[in-house]
Amino acid sequence: MYDRAIVHMDLDSFFVSVECLKNSQLLGKPLLIGGMSSRGVVASCSYEARRFGVHSAMPVKMALRLCPQAIVMRGDMDEYSKYSTLVTDIIGEDAPVFEKSSIDEFYLDISGMDRFFGCFKWTQELRQKVIKESGLPISFGLSVNKLVSKIGTGEAKPNGEKQITKGTERNFLAPLSTRKIPGVGPQTYKKLSFMGIRHIYTLRDIPIRLLEREFGDHGKQLWYKANAKDNSPVVPYTEQKSMSKERTFVEDTLDMVFIRQKIIAMVDDLAYELRKSGKLTCQVTVKIRYADFNTYTKQKRIQYTANNKILLGHILHLFEQLYQRRQLIRLVGIKFGSLVYGNFQINLFDDTVEEIDLLKQMDVIRNRFGAKAIQRASSLSLPVKS
C-alpha cells in the first residue's frame, strides 16, 4: 500500500478575517462576530480577543465581561459564503480530490503527489495562492490521515503550516491535551479528567475495552483517535440532504401565539429557500428544546412538496403532537429532509389561483430584494393599537 497524504486546510478566524478584509480599521482590534441578543453566542472572534479568554460558542455577554472593549458585529452570512466559495474555487482548481467539510475547512487527498513535487512543497504553494488570491489567512496540516492533519492545523494556527511525517504521528499527538481530539467536548473532557486522563499519551495506553465500557462506541473511537488511527476517506462532494432552521428565544416562553408566529416565519423562510434551490421535500421534522435542555424531535413523511401552506400544516400538526410537557420552551426548530430536484405539484382543491399567484409574487420580490423583504403578517408580532 502507498502511504496516504491528507491535507487539512482551515481559514483562520474566518468571519473575522472577512470583516477585516472589508474594513482594514478593524485589523488588530478585538472583534467578536455573533448574536447581539442576550442569548447570542460568539460565532467567531479575532486572536486579539482570544487573548482575553474569549472563544467561539461562548455567550456574547460573558465574552464582553472578559473583554469589554471588544467590537461586536452581527455578521453577514451571505458575504461569508461568497468568500468561502471563492476559496473553494481556488482549491478546487488545483486539488485532485477535496472535501469541503464546513464553511471554512477543507480536506485534500494528495496521495501520490510526492513523486512529482513533494506534498509539503505543493501544499505550501497552494496555501500561498489562497492567501494571495483571496486575501484571507489560512493554515494547514499535512499528515497520513484526516485526524492527525486536523489536529496538526490546530497546532499550526494562526497562519501557519505543519507537516507530521509518517511514523511521527503518534509522538506528535502524545503530549497534547485530550481536549484537542475532535469529538471531545466539554462533557467528555470532564469525564476523562475525572479518570485522570488529561493527555493523549495516557489515553492511548488505556485498554480499549475499558473505554468502551465507560463511553460506549464513542470510547472505541477515542482510543483509535488517540493512537492516530483514522481510515475515513476524503469524500469529494456531498449533496445537501436536508435544510433546517431553529430559533432560540430571548426568554424561555409558553406564549403559543408567539411560538406560532416564529414557526410560520421559519417555515416561510425555509420553504422559500427550498423553492429557490428548485427542490422538494418529503420529510418534515420539528424540534423542541425545553428550558431544562431536554430536546425532543418528531418527524413525518409527506408527499413531495415545496408549498408553504402544506408544509406549515404538517409542521404545526407535528408541533402540537410533540408539545406535551407544560414547560417553558427554549428553542423550536424545523427541518426539511429527503430533498429532490423538482417543482411542486399544484393541488386542484387545496390551492387557489390567488394563493399560488401570491406565493409566486412573494418569491419574485424576495429574489429581487432579499428574503426579508416581504413577510406574512401572521408571522409578525406587531404592537396592537387599542
Binding site: R275, Q345, L348, F349
Partner: protein, 371 residues
C-alpha cells in the same frame, strides 16, 4: 352436495370472485367462498364485509346443499387443471369436499358455512339501468384517476351523480380529474354516491355482453346486477369535493395534437426526467410544442419538438409526465385537444370528437414553474 361442471366455466367466475377475497381477513371465514346448490344453479358468494359478490353458474346438479371452502385453494386448483368436466362432492355430515377430475382426486377441508356473514339486501326505491358498454367505458376512463390517499376517503372511489337526463362519473386525486357524462339517459329519481374503487374494478372484470346493468342503491350501499353476477358494496361515506368549481371555464389557449405521437414523445422524454418527480416542461408557441426534461442529479437532459396546432399566447407549463401519459392513454381519438389558461391553472384534456351520447373531460394540474 354433489354436482359436476366444466372447469373453464367455473374458472371464469372464480377468477372474478377471487378479487373480492381480502388480503388479511378480519374473520377467517372471509377467506372462503360460500357455495349454494339448488337444482342446476350454483350460487357462489365472496365477501370482505365491504364488497360482496354473488355469481350464478349453471352446473349439472345431483344433490342440493351448501358449503364454505377456501377460495384461494379452489382458484389455484381450477386454474392449474386442463379443460375438462369436474365433479364436486361433499357428504352432508362430513367436512371434506372431494374434487374428482381425470387427473386425480383432491380433498379440501370445508368450513362451517353458517359462520359466513349475512349479505345486506338491496333496499332502494327505484333502480337505474345502464348499458354495459357505457358502464365499461365509464369505469375504464375514471378508475385510474382515483386517489390512494387514506386521508382523503372521498377520493378513493368514483363519484356517480344520477341526474334526470344524464349520468355523471367523476374521479380525482386532487392532481388530475376525469368527468365522464352519459347523456342518453332518463330517470325520475336523482341521487349521488361514491363507489369504492375495489368494487368498480370487480364490476369491470365481471361485465360482459351488451345488455344492461341494473343499479340499486340506498344511502349506504349500492348493488350492481349484471347478467349472472351481482356485486354489492358499502358506499364511501364522505363528501365529494366540489369538482365543478375547479373546472376552468375560460381557456383561450388551444392545442390540437396527434395523440399517439404525443404519448410516444412524452414517454421518451420522461426517461430523462427525475425519477421521483417525473416533471417535464412543455413550451408552446405557434411553431409547435417543445417537450423538455432534465434530471439535475445525473445531468441527464432531453428535448423533442413536435408539430401541432396551437393558437394562443406562447407559454411554458410543467407537468408530471405520468399524469399526462395516463390520461392520454385512456382516450381513443386520433387527435386530442388541450386547453390552457395560465401556467399555474388546471389544463383541460379533451378528445377531438366524441359519440353523441357521451362526453369526456379531463383536468390536469400543472407543476409550479419557477420564473
Amino acid at each position: 352436495m354433489k354436482f359436476s361442471v366444466s372447469s373453464s366455466d367455473l374458472l371464469k367466475k372464480i377468477q372474478v370472485a377471487t378479487g373480492v377475497l381480502p388480503t388479511n381477513a378480519i374473520m377467517p371465514i372471509l377467506d372462503d367462498f360460500l357455495m349454494e346448490l339448488k337444482g342446476d344453479q350454483l350460487t357462489l358468494i365472496a365477501s370482505d364485509l365491504e364488497t360482496t359478490l354473488r355469481t350464478v353458474i349453471t352446473v349439472n346438479g345431483v344433490e342440493d346443499g351448501t358449503m364454505a371452502v377456501r377460495g384461494k385453494i379452489l382458484n389455484d386448483t381450477i386454474k392449474a387443471l386442463p379443460e375438462q368436466p369436474i365433479e364436486f362432492a361433499k357428504e352432508e355430515n362430513e367436512s371434506i369436499l372431494v374434487i374428482k377430475t381425470s387427473n386425480g382426486e383432491y380433498k379440501l377441508a370445508s368450513d362451517n358455512f353458517e359462520e359466513f356473514p349475512q349479505i345486506p339486501d338491496a333496499v332502494t326505491s327505484e333502480g337505474v339501468e345502464i348499458p354495459v358498454p357505457i358502464l365499461e367505458s365509464a369505469i375504464s376512463r375514471t378508475l385510474f384517476a382515483t386517489s390512494n390517499d387514506e386521508m382523503r376517503q372521498a377520493m378513493m372511489g368514483v363519484y356517480l351523480h344520477i341526474q334526470k337526463d344524464k349520468l355523471i362519473f367523476v374521479a380525482t386525486d386532487a392532481h388530475k380529474l376525469v368527468k365522464y357524462t352519459y347523456l342518453d339517459f332518463n330517470t325520475s329519481q336523482e341521487g349521488s354516491m361514491i363507489i369504492p374503487k375495489k368494487s368498480l374494478n370487480l364490476v369491470r372484470q365481471a361485465l360482459k355482453g351488451s345488455g344492461n346493468v341494473k343499479l340499486n342503491y340506498s344511502n349506504s350501499h349500492v348493488f350492481m346486477e349484471m347478467e349472472d353476477t351481482e356485486i354489492g358494496c358499502r358506499l364511501i361515506d364522505a363528501q365529494f369535493p366540489n369538482y365543478n368549481a375547479v373546472i376552468p371555464t375560460e381557456n383561450p389557449n388551444l392545442l390540437t395534437i396527434d395523440r399517439v405521437s404525443f404519448i410516444q414523445s412524452l414517454k421518451r422524454i420522461s426517461i430523462y426526467a427525475n425519477k421521483t418527480t417525473n416533471q417535464l416542461v412543455l413550451t408552446l408557441d405557434n411553431d409547435g410544442i417543445l417537450i423538455k426534461a432534465q434530471d439535475l442529479d445525473y445531468h441527464n437532459e432531453a428535448e423533442e419538438k413536435l408539430s401541432c396546432q396551437y393558437s394562443g399566447d406562447p407559454m411554458e407549463v410543467a407537468f408530471n409526465s405520468k399524469f399526462l401519459v395516463e390520461m392520454l392513454t385512456v382516450l381513443d381519438t386520433d387527435d386530442v385537444i388541450m386547453e390552457f389558461s395560465t401556467p399555474n391553472r388546471a389544463s383541460l384534456i379533451l378528445p377531438s370528437s366524441s359519440a353523441d351520447d357521451e362526453d369526456l373531460l379531463m383536468l390536469v394540474m400543472p407543476v409550479m414553474v419557477n420564473r
